[in-house]
């Protein structure tokens, strides 16, 4: 079972290296950020979640970013969903208004920007076969 010993060494060495490298990265980032000396502005929950949702939504367009299975939506208290949706959408139209060139650069209605929650729903109710399927 000398393979096992080797495996353990791999684990120790491997995780050690990964941690070391990322710690180093942490250091470098702190350095880079120091140049900014931006003030840390406090932020409301809504702002944070909307901003985060915007980022997540655009990342949904990447190959391999997975569609959250439907339940998740219902799994969440409707009112909250609603709240977030409204905020998100308000935020989005805002963005869309000033940022038309960028936003439209994806298929309109594509999931490259729209939240997967919205988009998945839309996709379902629109796909052709649905219109005639059983």
């Amino acid at each position: 079972m000398e393979n096992l010993g080797w495996g353990l060494q791999m684990t120790v060495l491997g995780m050690g290296l990964v941690f070391a490298l990322l710690a180093l990265l942490w250091g470098l980032l702190t350095l880079v950020l120091a140049l900014d000396k931006e003030p840390k502005a406090p932020q409301t929950a809504k702002e944070a979640i909307v901003e985060a949702e915007r980022i997540a939504a655009s990342a949904d367009g990447a190959i391999g970013a997975q569609v959250p299975e439907r339940p998740t939506v219902n799994g969440m208290p409707a009112d909250l969903v609603a709240a977030i949706m409204i905020a998100t959408l308000k935020h989005k139209t805002e963005l869309r208004r000033q940022a038309a060139p960028f936003m439209r650069s994806y298929w309109p209605g594509s999931q490259l920007f729209a939240s997967r929650w919205v988009a998945t729903g839309r996709a379902r109710q629109n796909s052709i076969w649905q219109a005639r399927g059983k």
């Binding site: 393979n3 096992l4 080797w6 495996g7 353990l8 791999m10 684990t11 060495l13 491997g14 995780m15 290296l17 990964v18 941690f19 490298l21 990322l22 180093l24 990265l25 942490w26 470098l28 980032l29 880079v32 950020l33 140049l35 900014d36 931006e38 003030p39 840390k40 502005a41 406090p42 932020q43 929950a45 702002e47 944070a48 979640i49 901003e51 985060a52 949702e53 980022i55 997540a56 655009s58 990342a59 949904d60 367009g61 990447a62 190959i63 391999g64 970013a65 997975q66 569609v67 959250p68 299975e69 339940p71 998740t72 799994g75 969440m76 208290p77 909250l80 060139p101 650069s105 490259l112």
Partner: protein
């Protein structure tokens, strides 16, 4: 004249149907079912399933030399170009802001890679060769392109099952992660709220980030250069805002074309004899395990941070360190809200999640380095 031989040719197809090819057709149908009905990353699984089906039809000319699927395989799998191009597109759509707002989260990404090595050991115990074991372990990176890249170098013959496992499990994040999280955390821990402090990230910083990461990782772990380099190239193009056309092309046209070709090519490697082994089952099981272990390690490490920070870190965000960006973060947010509607962890979870993305690549490079691949 048409002789009996020619007539024989006509039955050649039917005569060459083997039970393995039939089983593999079955496998391809299952994959199609998962892709279409169950919505398991159809962008990858549907082409893979199609490639698998087409490769297992009797005497399929598509996998003969100069057959289209072979051609696609040599075009971008042998030289690893396809997974790397997909990475450019991912980088072009990934916003590392959440990580930059909270850089210490980087460490959570490291913890999220623990499963890779645990699985490697288990694979060794199950009798896989070191190279195979490492390739199976990389499923624990929970990152498609990384898994394809690493196993493509160390154990190309396992490319099929490993890719399938990687992408299927990525799509199972919402099902696998919650129980793991709940198992590892107390209700009280899950209720911890984290303060939202938004810090404007200057454009300069956003542009420096991909450059710094590439140079640092690339210098210390040359084996990781292609993966990190392409991921960060996409991000650099995005953040620079100077080459919108190229950014879009990488995220749309190029990504779509490459994904189709990649899936078909990988599917075509899943041919009867090779695929139908106990090993394949093991790989599936081990991949699932790697996944769970990643989650556990992430949560545990987050607990440490929480303890160090005096209760300011919700251990759940550790689970987002496994990468699978941005799904994992979304799942964490949902679990949090199932217990406290007003608990918004998404931004923090996204930070850990982005860190996991980078860490996965680093881990992949480290693994290759330790295996002395091409070293």
């Amino acid at each position: 004249m048409i002789d009996h031989e020619t007539i024989g040719l006509l039955l050649k197809g039917v005569n060459n149907v083997t039970w393995q090819s039939l089983v593999m057709l079955g496998v391809s149908f299952v994959l199609m079912y998962l892709a279409i009905v169950k919505d398991y990353e159809p962008l990858l699984l549907l082409p893979i399933a199609a490639g698998c089906m087409l490769a297992n039809l009797p005497l399929s000319p598509l996998i003969a030399d100069d057959g289209m699927l072979k051609v696609l395989y040599n075009m971008g799998i042998t030289n690893e170009m396809f997974p790397l191009l997909i990475f450019v597109g991912i980088g072009a759509l990934t916003d590392f802001g959440p990580l930059l707002e909270n850089p210490r989260l980087v460490l959570l990404g490291a913890a999220g890679q623990f499963g890779i090595f645990m699985t490697l050991i288990l694979a060794l115990i199950l009798g896989f060769t070191p190279n195979e074991a490492a390739s199976i372990g990389i499923i624990g990176a929970i990152d498609g392109p990384t898994s394809i890249y690493v196993s493509g170098i160390l154990a190309p013959h396992l490319l099929g099952p490993i890719t399938v496992a990687a992408y299927s499990y990525m799509s199972l994040v919402p099902i696998i992660l919650p129980p793991v999280i709940k198992l590892m955390t107390t209700k009280k821990e899950r209720a911890i709220r984290m303060p939202y402090s938004q810090r404007k990230i200057s454009r300069r910083t956003r542009i420096l980030f991909p450059i710094v990461v590439t140079v640092m990782v690339g210098t210390l772990v040359p084996f990781a250069t292609p993966l990190i380099g392409m991921l960060m190239l996409g991000n650099l193009m995005k953040e620079s805002g100077a080459v919108e056309r190229l950014t879009k092309a990488s995220a749309a046209e190029i990504a779509n074309t490459v994904t189709l070709f990649l899936g078909l090519a990988i599917g075509s490697t899943m041919v009867g004899a090779d695929f139908l082994k106990q090993d394949t089952l093991f790989i599936m099981v081990l991949g699932l395990l790697a996944f769970a272990l990643d989650g556990c390690a992430g949560v545990l490490f987050a607990k440490v941070l929480n303890w160090l920070s005096g209760g300011k870190v919700n251990p759940m965000i550790g689970a987002a360190g496994i990468s699978a960006f941005p799904m994992a973060a979304r799942v964490v947010q949902r679990v949090a809200q199932e217990e406290d509607f007003e608990n918004f962890l998404l931004m923090h979870a996204m930070g850990a999640n982005a860190a996991g993305q980078v860490a996965s690549v680093v881990a992949g490079g480290v693994l290759l380095a330790l295996m002395g691949a091409g070293g």
